[in-house]
Symmetry: C2
Subunit: 473 residues, 2 copies
């Protein structure tokens, strides 16, 4: 344990140095967040397929519960329930488009994570930073419960619980709880909790702030205590179901899975779940009485309970859908919390977009029309009028729209187009359009993953640490 504690202290110091201008001390926030003595009991794992080149290594370090795919290096680092799914890393010979630049990729892209520290988080796909297209790094980064670093470089930053930084290049930032930032290159910012910020320089700027009093009910985080609120209770009350999938070495699926679909071995599948063609169910997803139509995907740490997704629906990392009916092509953004009730179901019309970090929590039935955009907190029809708009109307904005806590500036049609393109890319990458021959994606390629389960030193000074493991395919 001694060396594990040293690793922890060293990383906290590094992050504090990076955050010094904010006069921020992360120590009291994270001191009791990581169960160092628990970490010695967990095993870690990583996926192996012939499609992803592996070169896993780690030093001075610890892991517990992982799922790296693609090359990897972890140096001087504590990780904890990390996913880091490098299955969209660029390959030597690829070309990366950025603005007017057509950048040739000189070597296979590598995950690095040097000096880092991540907790209960996932980091996805590839570097979107044109300055380091071959280098998918993260450094000295402390991210708390269910924070979501989605792709790309990040530096000595602190991410609050259920926060997301998306497609981003970020340095020395503080991201508050449940904040979503997709703003390109940002540095030295302190983002308040509950901020939803989507910016495309010269095109548009979407900014929303969750009302603090309502947000605190869902997620509240302060120094010296564990994160609290509905989100935490929801997740914790389902924690036990995950125990079984970690206890056994191999797990057979309890439901029929078509040849074109894939269901991660580390997902929880409860009865009456239906999996259609081209469906992708990712790691640590939780399905209970979930009907998943063709091409639907349920990404890492998503929960689908008593709900029906007609097909080509996207449930982005960390989103929860309870007692709801989604028509085709609905997009539910990162960490969104959509809760209907048994006698108050939520219906979402086709092609609608639920913005990342949206909370819909209803006690009477609610229908979101087709082709609608929804954000913020929605508890009823009235909220929906303030925090929703048809995509058609939104596309007409050319300068500014202010609605409740939301401010939009720029081109509405650019915003909608960018969103639609990304949705299309996600479906494509996940294999939703697979036709039996081509348009293969993660749903088809991730079907056959072997997992290596690795354990830390059981006693002594190195207790809880793992030796460095180099893999040569």
């Amino acid at each position: 344990m001694k060396e594990l504690e040293l690793v922890f202290d060293r990383i906290v110091q590094r992050v504090n140095i990076n955050l010094r201008e904010h006069e921020y001390d992360v120590y009291p926030l994270v001191n009791n967040l990581i169960p160092l003595n628990q970490m010695t009991k967990f095993y870690a794992f990583y996926g192996i397929t012939p499609h992803h080149k592996l070169n896993l290594q780690f030093r001075h370090s610890s892991l517990s519960g992982s799922y790296f795919l693609g090359k990897c290096q972890v140096t001087n680092s504590i990780l904890y329930k990390s996913d880091i799914r490098g299955d969209e890393l660029k390959k030597k010979g690829d070309r990366f488009q950025f603005g007017d630049f057509d950048i040739p990729i000189n070597s296979d892209e590598k995950i690095k994570i040097n000096d880092s520290f991540l907790i209960k988080t996932l980091v996805h796909n590839n570097s979107h930073d044109p300055e380091t297209p071959e280098n998918f790094f993260i450094r000295d980064t402390i991210s708390t419960h269910y924070a979501n670093i989605h792709g790309s470089p990040i530096d000595g930053s602190f991410l609050g619980p259920f926060s997301t930084v998306d497609l981003t290049t970020m340095r020395d930032c503080l991201i508050g709880a449940f904040s979503y930032v997709q703003a390109g290159e940002v540095s030295h910012l302190n983002i308040e909790p509950g901020t939803v910020w989507v910016r495309s320089p010269d095109n548009f700027n979407f900014l929303y702030r969750h009302p603090v009093d309502r947000l605190n009910n869902y997620i509240y985080f302060t120094a010296g205590a564990q994160p609290q609120g509905v989100f935490i209770d929801f997740v914790n009350s389902r924690k036990e179901s995950f125990q079984r999938i970690f206890d056994v070495v191999n797990l057979e699926s309890s439901v029929p899975v078509p040849d074109s679909a894939s269901l991660d071995r580390f997902s929880v599948i409860k009865p009456k779940t239906h999996i259609d063609e081209n469906v992708l169910v990712a790691q640590r997803a939780y399905l209970q009485n979930a009907w998943l139509g063709k091409g639907a995907n349920v990404q890492e740490q998503c929960y689908i309970i008593n709900s029906r997704l007609e097909g080509f629906d996207i449930t982005a990392h960390g989103a929860k859908i309870i007692e709801a009916d989604l028509s085709k092509n609905v997009f539910v953004g990162f960490n969104s919390f959509l809760r209907g009730r048994p006698k108050a179901r939520l219906s979402i019309g086709q092609e609608s977009i639920i913005m990342p970090h949206t909370i819909i929590d209803i006690r009477k039935p609610l229908t979101i029309p087709a082709n609608h955009l929804v954000w913020g907190v929605v508890e009823n029809e009235k909220d929906l009028k303030t925090n929703g708009i048809s995509l058609n109307d939104f596309s007409k904005i050319t300068s500014t729209l202010v609605r409740g806590n939301m401010t939009f500036e720029g081109s509405g049609s650019s915003f909608v187009t960018a969103f639609k393109e990304r949705i299309h890319h996600i479906l494509e990458a996940n294999g939703a359009f697979f036709n039996g021959n081509s348009k293969r994606g993660h749903a088809q390629r991730n079907q056959n993953i072997s997992f290596n389960m690795i354990q830390p030193y059981p006693v002594g000074d190195t207790h809880g640490l793992y030796p460095t493991i180099t893999i040569k395919p």
Copy 2:
């Protein structure tokens, strides 16, 4: 699978080249022995402790079910349910006594196994070859079901089922089923099935041959078929019990285990088993209604069923003890098969030595006196008279003793002394004499082993193969 088949063919060819002077073709013997398509379903594992330096690597290779401890390198090799327990490897700075030589050890001893091929076998402790004290190698070696290479270098040899080569340096040999060879440096020999040969040049020579007709009942092996007989049936009928221990990641012990004892996580423990102080239960051991007194050990692949071992008893690798009562300090040699019946129990008096590869299979109660030496096949009192003698009488031999199929030449007292010394070493190494502070052995040191579970590529040409894994502690 394609590459796995290539690895297999390449190794068979190598062994055939080594055995060319015997005009021996191992292909028909081993062709159907290895379930290549099954191997792709197994996972492999290796132990991690702070006491054993690891540097696991393998190339072109396959593994399934393993338990390396200490450094390791495997090149171009299929292994299968191997144990290879390198926990007595010599360390830099150690000194190795051989005859009049006092050999300084220049570097940590390493397991190598280059070009090799082992099936369902174990290889134990360290190199006893004074020519390569830092190099624990095995090459091009095909060993069939439950063969037991005990320590040390070996070369392009073929080992039949349930055969043992002990403390040996061996080159290009054929060892028949159920043969036991402890004869120092031997090469280019063809050992008939059922041979028990213990030689110490200039000191003594013990040679016994199991009668072929009686042996065939227990183990029969011929080209084109799986090994057959009582031994195989016995092991196969208990195979399913092992499934559970491989299915789960971590297994809590179902019986109380004293702090000074250790029970391997990959052993099967059935009800009413008692584990006393300083007991060692090794990997793939099977205990059912087994009472194990202080300092007793049950080594790899041993079975103890409805039996009581009073204490400081040794059950050497692969031995089976059924419906028997052993007094203190009884030694049961490798692969011995001791079967009493519920109404015909076997009793063994203290300090007795059951030679390796002994079969005792009784239908009426039988008592082996204290301080007795037993070998061969014993089904009743009459057999015991032929195949047993008091250690005292045996010690008096100075030239030759012929009894039934056994011939002894040389010094009986040297033989007995050498045996007693080895028994003492085994108990000491296994921690039987641990006093709470010192005399620590495997029973104490092997308590905390983490296991890494590794899986082969799931599809494609490399299906069933593992990538090379280098570990830097």
